[in-house]
């Protein structure tokens, strides 16, 4: 083989190695994406698990706020039973709204607000809401990176060949949720 043959061989080998590297990068990114999605699930489930305890604690001090408590329990059951992604997003939004009104109602009961258990649960639930928001944020960031990666020139040539499709962002449809919660008197 002449010099040209060797050069061509080198080019082919380098191209091959580059394809392998890119493919592995895409696989890693896709796995990160799925993991981020699963994290959102974990946080939502944690929220579901914390709610019964909260309802029991509030019942002990504010027994005649039955309407609010029932709304929370119903919203929780609906969220746990929802199946499709759109349904789940909707149900979780409803649950967030129900929790907000429950905490607003609890403001009127000073004994409840002083209860250690209630305070701990309130902190846990607020933190879980934040964690859902951050997991969603990370998921969307990763989707952005992934989509860009499969669409820029050299990589898009083989991306669809290997089954790397575009992913959707996890959008917040409910406008009310985008605002910071304001408590007014």
């Amino acid at each position: 083989m002449g010099t040209i043959g060797l050069v061509l061989l080198a080019v082919v080998v380098i191209a091959f190695l580059w394809v392998i590297g890119s493919y592995n990068g895409l696989v890693r990114l896709r796995n990160q994406l799925e993991n981020a999605w699963a994290q959102i699930d974990v946080q939502l489930k944690r929220r579901h698990d914390l709610i019964p305890n909260l309802v029991e604690t509030v019942k002990g001090y504010a027994a005649h706020e039955r309407g609010t408590l029932e709304a929370v329990t119903q919203a929780r059951n609906a969220a746990m039973n929802a199946k499709s992604v759109a349904d789940r997003a909707q149900a979780e939004n409803v649950l967030t709204g129900a929790l907000k009104s429950l905490f607003a109602v609890a403001e009127a009961y000073p004994e409840l607000k002083a209860n250690q258990n209630f305070l701990a649960l309130q902190e846990e639930l607020t933190s879980t809401e934040n964690k859902v928001a951050f997991s969603r944020q990370f998921y969307n960031d990763t989707v952005m990176t992934y989509n860009t990666r499969i669409e820029v020139f050299p990589t898009n040539v083989f991306a669809s060949m290997f089954g790397f499709g575009r992913r959707d962002f996890f959008e917040v449809k409910d406008e009310a949720e985008r605002e910071a919660p304001k408590v007014t008197f």
Binding site: K59, N115, A120, S127, N130, F134, T142, A180
Partner: protein, 472 residues
């Protein structure tokens, strides 16, 4: 910043290779000077031994040494759930694969650092001053910065660099001592094979590196750490979506009137703001471990349009000039709006954090009816104490020997496990409680503790807990 991680791993490897070469050259060169070929090999051996010993220290618990030196105490989730929640939130926002351990340092200067070269050894430490002075947004910014260091593997790289720096310094000290004491009249065995020129070259190179090596290594080390501070700021702004949080945190930290006594030149780069230059502006020279805090605040506050990496890059260019982040990372950064402030105050008061520190150090809290709270050290000899305010005698809560007739089934299993009669403690409140085991060790039980029994960490006896019925 996926590229940053890959780049850091590559740089770590490259750093090891380069510094090992420098070390080897110093050893070889200075050795040649003394006894020709044999001396060169001996010198090389010495260099590699120094490096090997330091690498072993690095691999096996350099973090524990650093944390102990900083008098940091590990915290559990119960000790400060809000702090753990903030760290958790930042972990999710950054996509870090593991949860670092959290430590508390009892110091009034607000500061924080991150260490760790593997997920198991990774840790974040905060001072008590940070906990009660910053509000939630600011604390989130600081924690985001530390998590960014862990995510970008800066901690790994900087620790390796510190080890390298250390070995070069040690070796050059050895070389200088030998040069000073040994003199140059001992090169008897040189030019056996007519290699005199090469040996002389190595000798000169060795001496030059021995003198300049520490200097060069220091410059490299501090340059790396400065750049990484900006990058961690950028990542923190991206994770929190609120750059003003970190900016006002940096402001508060830099206004602290006291520093940290245990910090030194070597450990300073790990902190978020240098703990050495307090009350006066840090000279922004090539030897500074951190970029000037005022500059960092300026860049963060210049980010008006968004909180992504591209916005940080633009702000960096406007406020300081020059480029920071590689174009590949910028390509992938999305447009990210800045969120509104959360307006939550400090996550703990200075009183609460004092309690947390006492608990973490093994003190037990005794409350008197007159309202006074006393903290007693572990293994306090008496079982009661007089209140220093009202004079009332208070009994210290101890575990009781269990009645032999009560609950035979449970007693059997417990005795089978430990071979000693079981102990019992009845909880009195829903909050934190201190208990004394029969061996004298004080233990703290938090409000979140719901298990029916636990083991004393000192003597291993099983202690049953009679939990109160939780109200409602």
């Amino acid at each position: 910043m996926w590229e940053q991680i890959r780049a850091n791993q590559f740089r770590s490897a490259a750093l090891i290779v380069v510094m090992a070469a420098v070390l080897g050259l110093i050893g070889y060169g200075v050795g040649t000077l003394f006894s020709g070929q044999d001396g060169a090999v001996l010198g090389l051996g010495v260099a590699l031994t120094v490096w090997g010993v330091l690498m072993i220290v690095y691999g096996n618990g350099a973090e524990s040494i650093l944390l102990n030196h900083a008098t940091a105490r590990e915290l559990q989730r119960d000790d400060s759930p809000r702090l753990f929640n903030i760290v958790d939130e930042m972990r999710l926002a950054s996509g870090l694969e593991f949860m670092p351990r959290i430590f508390l340092i009892d110091a009034s200067m607000p500061n924080a650092f991150a260490v760790g070269h593997t997920p198991q050894t990774s840790a974040i430490a905060v001072t008590t001053g940070l906990m009660y002075r910053l509000d939630r947004d600011e604390l989130e910014g600081v924690i985001g910065h530390e998590i960014a260091h862990l995510k970008n593997r800066d901690t790994q790289f900087l620790m390796l660099a510190a080890v390298m720096l250390g070995s070069i310094v040690i070796l050059s000290e050895i070389a200088k001592q030998m040069l000073w004491l040994g003199g140059r009249g001992r090169s008897r065995n040189e030019s056996r094979n007519g290699d005199g020129n090469a040996q002389a070259l190595f000798a000169v190179l060795g001496i030059v590196l021995a003198i300049l090596g520490p200097l060069m290594a220091q410059l490299l080390y501090f340059a790396c750490s400065r750049k990484r501070e900006f990058l961690a700021d950028a990542c923190s702004a991206q994770y929190t979506r609120y750059p003003e949080g970190l900016a006002s945190a940096l402001e508060k930290i830099s206004q602290s009137p006291v520093g940290l006594e245990f910090a030194s030149q070597a450990t300073a780069p790990m902190f978020i703001v240098s703990p050495l230059y307090v009350g006066r502006e840090e000279p922004n020279s090539v030897f500074s471990s951190h970029p000037s805090t005022a500059e960092r605040i300026r860049v963060l506050r210049a980010m008006e349009s968004g909180s992504s990496l591209t916005d940080y890059e633009a702000a960096y260019h406007r406020a300081k000039g020059g480029a920071l982040i590689g174009s590949q990372s910028l390509q992938k950064a999305a447009a990210q709006p800045i969120r509104p402030p959360s307006n939550e105050g400090p996550i703990t008061t200075s009183r609460e954090i004092r309690q947390t520190v006492c608990r973490a150090n093994g003190y037990m809290t005794v409350k008197c009816d007159c309202g006074l709270e006393m903290n007693l050290p572990e293994r306090f000899p008496d079982n009661d104490i007089r209140c220093i305010r009202c004079g009332k005698v208070l009994e210290l809560p101890t575990v009781q020997q269990r009645d032999a007739q009560a609950q035979a089934a449970q007693k059997k299993t417990v005795e089978a496990a430990t071979g000693a009669p079981p102990l019992l403690y009845t909880r009195r409140t829903q909050g934190w409680e201190s208990v004394r085991c029969a061996c004298g060790r004080t233990l703290q039980i938090g409000p979140g503790f719901v298990a029916p029994y636990f083991k004393c960490p000192s003597c291993g006896r099983v202690i049953e807990i009679n939990n109160l019925q939780r109200s409602a």
